[in-house]
Symmetry: C2
Subunit: 264 residues, 2 copies
C-alpha cells in the first residue's frame, strides 16, 4: 500500500492511498474502496465546494464520508429512487440518463471527476430526478442527505460554490434546448463531441481523446438522433481527418474545423 496521485479531471490529481488492484470478475480494477480516514485533507481542498475550508473542517467532512467504487456501466442510483445520499466523484465520468415511458434513453449531462452529483437535496427533492450511470470505472465519496443542511450551514463556500455548479449545469441544459430547437443533427453531434472533449479530453499524439469509453449509441442519446446517423457522420468526418475513432473510442483530431461545423 502506497500513496499515489489520483486523477481528477484534466491534469488535476488527488493524492491518496492506493490499494493494490484487486481482481474483479476476471478484470483488474484500478481501485478498491478506500478507507476514508486515511484520505488526506489535501484531496478535497482544491475542489470548489471545499476551497474555503481549513484542514480540520475537511477532516471532519472526510471522516463522515463513505467511499464506493462502481464498475463501468453500473448505476450509482436510479431515477425516482429515494435520495438517501449525495456524492462526490473522485475519478471517472458519470452519464446522467433519463428514460422515457417507452424505454428510450436520453443523456442529460456528463459529470467529470471532482464534482458533486446526486445533489437532489439542494432542490429539496426526496427522489433522484435521473439515473447516474458509470461511463467508466468510478470512485466516489458519499454522504447521507441528512448532512446536506449542516454542510451548507457550517461550511462557508460550500453552498455558494455548489449553487454555482448547479447554475453551470442549468446553463448547459439551456444550451442543449437551444441546440435541439435550432440546430441540425450534424451541428449538434459536432458540439456534443466538443463538449465531451472540453470536459474530459486527454491529449494524445493523434489529437484529443475522450477519456472514457463511448459508443455511437451514447452519442446518439446525447444528441437526440440515431446511432446510424452518428455512425455516418463519424465515418464522413474520419474520411476528412476531423476525427479518428475506434470501438468505444473517439479522438478529435481537428477541433477547429469541428467548431466551424457546429457553429453555423
Amino acid at each position: 500500500m502506497r500513496k499515489i496521485k489520483l486523477l481528477i479531471g484534466r491534469g488535476k490529481f488527488l493524492e491518496c492511498w492506493q490499494f493494490k488492484p484487486v481482481a474483479f470478475k476476471h478484470k483488474a480494477s484500478r481501485y478498491r474502496d478506500i478507507n476514508v480516514h486515511r484520505l488526506d485533507e489535501s484531496l478535497l481542498s482544491p475542489l470548489p465546494p471545499f476551497s474555503m475550508l481549513d484542514r480540520p473542517q475537511i477532516r471532519s467532512i472526510l471522516d463522515r464520508a463513505t467511499s464506493r467504487r462502481f464498475d463501468a456501466g453500473a448505476a450509482v442510483f436510479d431515477e425516482g429512487a429515494p435520495a438517501r445520499s449525495f456524492y462526490l466523484l473522485l475519478d471517472g465520468t458519470i452519464r446522467v440518463v433519463k428514460t422515457t415511458p417507452d424505454g428510450e434513453q436520453v443523456t442529460a449531462l456528463h459529470i467529470p471527476a471532482g464534482q458533486l452529483f446526486g445533489i437532489a437535496p439542494a432542490f429539496r427533492r426526496d427522489a433522484y430526478p435521473a439515473t447516474a450511470i458509470a461511463a467508466s470505472e468510478l470512485l466516489t465519496l458519499c454522504w447521507p442527505v441528512s448532512l446536506w443542511e449542516p454542510f451548507v450551514a457550517d461550511y462557508p463556500g460550500f453552498g455558494t460554490e455548489t449553487y454555482k455548479t448547479i447554475g453551470d449545469r442549468v446553463a448547459e441544459m439551456n444550451n442543449r434546448i437551444i441546440e435541439m430547437s435550432t440546430q441540425h443533427v450534424e451541428q449538434r453531434v459536432a458540439r456534443a463531441l466538443l463538449r465531451l472533449v472540453n470536459q474530459s479530453g486527454k491529449q494524445t499524439a493523434e489529437g484529443i481523446e475522450i477519456s472514457f469509453p463511448i459508443t455511437r449509441q451514447d452519442v446518439s442519446e446525447m444528441t437526440g438522433t440515431t446511432l446510424h446517423t452518428v455512425s455516418r457522420l463519424l465515418s464522413a468526418w474520419e474520411k476528412d481527418g476531423l476525427v479518428s475513432s475506434k470501438r468505444k473510442k473517439i479522438v478529435v483530431c481537428d477541433p477547429h474545423r469541428l467548431v466551424a461545423l457546429g457553429g453555423a
Copy 2:
C-alpha cells in the same frame, strides 16, 4: 382608489390597492405602479417563499420592494445584462427567451403570476442568463440583488421554497430536452399547449383558454418548429374540435384527446 383583488395565477387572488386605470399610449392600462407601503401583508403570505413568515417580516420585505408595471411585449431584463434586481410577478405571464447568435429565438420557460423570477443571485450569477418578456401586461415587485443573501439568511423557508421552485423549473427543462429528443412535432406542440393551459388556463364556455395573448410564432419558439407547422396543426385540430383559436388566442376544448396526442 379602492381595495381590489388582484389575480395571481389560477383562481388565486392578492388583495391590494387598485389605482384607477390610466391611459397609456392610447390604451387603458389595468395598473399603475403601486405604492408598496400601501400593500397589505396578506398579499405575500400565501406565496410559497413567504408562507412561513409573520406579518412584521413580510412588512419589512414589502417596504424594501419597488413596484413596476410593464406593457405586453416589453422586456423586464435582457440576456447578459448585469443582474441588479430579482423580481416577484404579481400579475401577468413572463416569457423567458433566449436568442441565438443568428437571431433565432427560443422560449425556455413561461412563468406564471405568484412566482419569483430573475433569480440569478440564487446561482451566484452576475448576469441574467435569458431575456424576460412580458407576455401580457405585468405587475411586478422587485428588490436589489444585495438583499438576496439577507433574505435567504433571515427569512426561514425563503431559501428552501425558492430552491424547490428552481428544482421544478430544472425538471421542466429536463422534460423539454427529452421531448425534443424523442418526440415528434405534433406531440411536442400538444404538450406545450397542455403545459400552458395547466399553468395559466382560464375556464370558459368553450373550454380552457390560455390566459395571455399567444401567437403561432410563440408556440413554434416553444417547440422548436416553424409557425407554418403550428398553424397547420392548429387548423387540423380545430377541424377535429380539439381546440378553438383566434388571433393570439387559443382555447383547448378537449384536453383529454390532446393528452392522448402528446402521449404516444
